[in-house]
Symmetry: C2
Subunit: 247 residues, 2 copies
C-alpha cells in the first residue's frame, strides 16, 4: 500500500482504452467512503467523457492536450446546492451561502478527489490534477452548467498510462515537517532544503532555457507570477460571489 503511494507520478498521456463504467463507479464508491464534514457530503463529482464537452472544457484548462486526450475528466465541486435544496424541502432554513461553508465543502471535495486518485492508481490508471480549475472556475461553471452554491475546486484527467513518466523530486521531509510547533526557517536551513533541487541538471537546464539566474526566478517571473496570482485571485473571488458563497 505504501509502495503504491511512494510510486505515484503524474500521468499526462493515456492510451485510447476507455475506463469501464462499472470500474469508474467502483472507484467513485470507494472515494465517497472518505471522511467528510458532519456527513453532509457537500460535494459533487462531474464525470465528463463526451468529446464535444471535453473540447468545451479544454480552454478553461488552457488547452492542455490531456484534457481532450484523456478518456475522462472528473471535476470535483464544493456543493451546498443539494444539501440546501433538501433543507428547504424539509422546513429547515439553510445557512450555507458563506465562506466557511465553501471552505468545508471544498475540503470535502478535495478529500474525495485524492481518495479517487489513489483508488484509480491502485487499479493501474494514471491521473493528472488540473490546477487551472480555480483559475478559470467561471468558464467551467458555464461548461458544466453548475448552479448556485456549486463551484469547482479541483479536476483531474484519468486514463490508462501510455508511458509511465519519471518521478519528480520532493523536498527533504524534515524541510516540510515541524515537531510540536512551527520552527521558522533561517537562511542556512533554506539553503539546505533546496540544495538537492538546485544542484540537479534538470532544473539547471530549466533555468537556462528560461534565461533566468535562479530557479526561484522561473517561478516568480514566469510560472507563478504575482501579477497572474492576483488576476486569478480576483477572478476566483468573483466566481465565489456569483455562486452565492460570499453572502
Amino acid at each position: 500500500m505504501l509502495n503504491l503511494l511512494n510510486d505515484h507520478r503524474t500521468v499526462r498521456k493515456y492510451t485510447l482504452e476507455k475506463i469501464s463504467p462499472d470500474l469508474l463507479n467502483q472507484l467513485l464508491e470507494s472515494a465517497c467512503r472518505a471522511s467528510n464534514t458532519g456527513n453532509m457530503q457537500a460535494y459533487s463529482v462531474v464525470v465528463t467523457t463526451d468529446e464535444v464537452l471535453k473540447k468545451q472544457l479544454a480552454p478553461a484548462h488552457f488547452n492542455q492536450p490531456m484534457v481532450v486526450q484523456a478518456p475522462a475528466i472528473l471535476t470535483f465541486c464544493a456543493d451546498f446546492n443539494r444539501f440546501s435544496t433538501w433543507c428547504e424541502q424539509r422546513q429547515a432554513e439553510p445557512g450555507y451561502d458563506n465562506f466557511q461553508s465553501f471552505i468545508s465543502a471544498a475540503i470535502d471535495a478535495i478529500i474525495v478527489a485524492q481518495t479517487f486518485c489513489i483508488a484509480a492508481e491502485s487499479v493501474g490508471l494514471g491521473i493528472c490534477y488540473l490546477g487551472t480549475t480555480t483559475y478559470n472556475a467561471q468558464e467551467i461553471i458555464k461548461a458544466l452548467k453548475l448552479p448556485k452554491l456549486v463551484i469547482p475546486v479541483t479536476a483531474i484527467t484519468v486514463g490508462y498510462p501510455e508511458v509511465l513518466p519519471e518521478q519528480t523530486d520532493r523536498l527533504p521531509l524534515n524541510g516540510l515537517i515541524h515537531h510540536e510547533v512551527y520552527k521558522d526557517y533561517d537562511a542556512n536551513e533554506i539553503d539546505r532544503i533546496y540544495a538537492e533541487k538546485e544542484s540537479s541538471d534538470f532544473y539547471n537546464q530549466f533555468v537556462k532555457e528560461n534565461n533566468k539566474d535562479t530557479l526561484a526566478q522561473v517561478f516568480t517571473d514566469i510560472r507563478y507570477s504575482k501579477k497572474n496570482n492576483e488576476f486569478f485571485s480576483d477572478k476566483f473571488l468573483e466566481a465565489l460571489k456569483e455562486q452565492g458563497f460570499l453572502q
Copy 2:
C-alpha cells in the same frame, strides 16, 4: 486496496500505544509523494505529541476529548512562507500573498492530509479529521507559532484504535455523481437521495433527541447553523488577512 478505502471509519478513541517516530516518518514520506501545485510543495505539517501542547491546542478544537487522548495531532497548513523565503534569498520577488495562492496551497495541504490518512489506515492506525481547524485558525496559529503566509486548513488526530466504530451511512452514489454536466435536483430526486438516511432508526432517534421535526432541522438549527457559519466565516477571513493571504 479498494477494500481498505471501503472499510474507512472515523476513529475517536485510541489505545495508549505511541506511534513510533520511524513509522510516522515513513507515512509522512508516502504522503508527501502526492501531487502538488507546480511542485512548489506549499504546505507544512506540524506534528504535536507533547501533552502540554496538546492541551494548549484542545480549546481550539472545542475540547473534543480525542485531541488530548490521541498520541499525535497533525496540523496541515497552507504554507507559502518557506517558498517565499527561498525566493527572497534567490533574487526573486515572491507574489504569494493573495487568495489564489492560499487556495492552491490549501489544496496541496489537504491532498497530503488525505494521503497520510490512507497510509496510516493501511498500517492499522485510525484517524479523525478536526473540522474545527478553520473555525479557530487564529487560536491554532498562536498555539503552533505559525508565521505569516502559513495558515492551518485541516488537522487530524491519529493513533491505534481502541474500538473500531460502526461505519456511517453515505448518500447513494448516483446522488453525488453527474454525467457529462451537472443535472440539478428536483423534489422527487431529493426525496429519493435522502430516503435511506431519513428512514434510519439512528437518525430518527437523533431528530427526537434534538426536539426537531426533520433531520435537516438538526443541521440548520443546531449542528451547522447560519449564525455559526457566518461567525466562523468572518473569523477565518480575518485569519487569512492576518496571515497575509489577502493583500
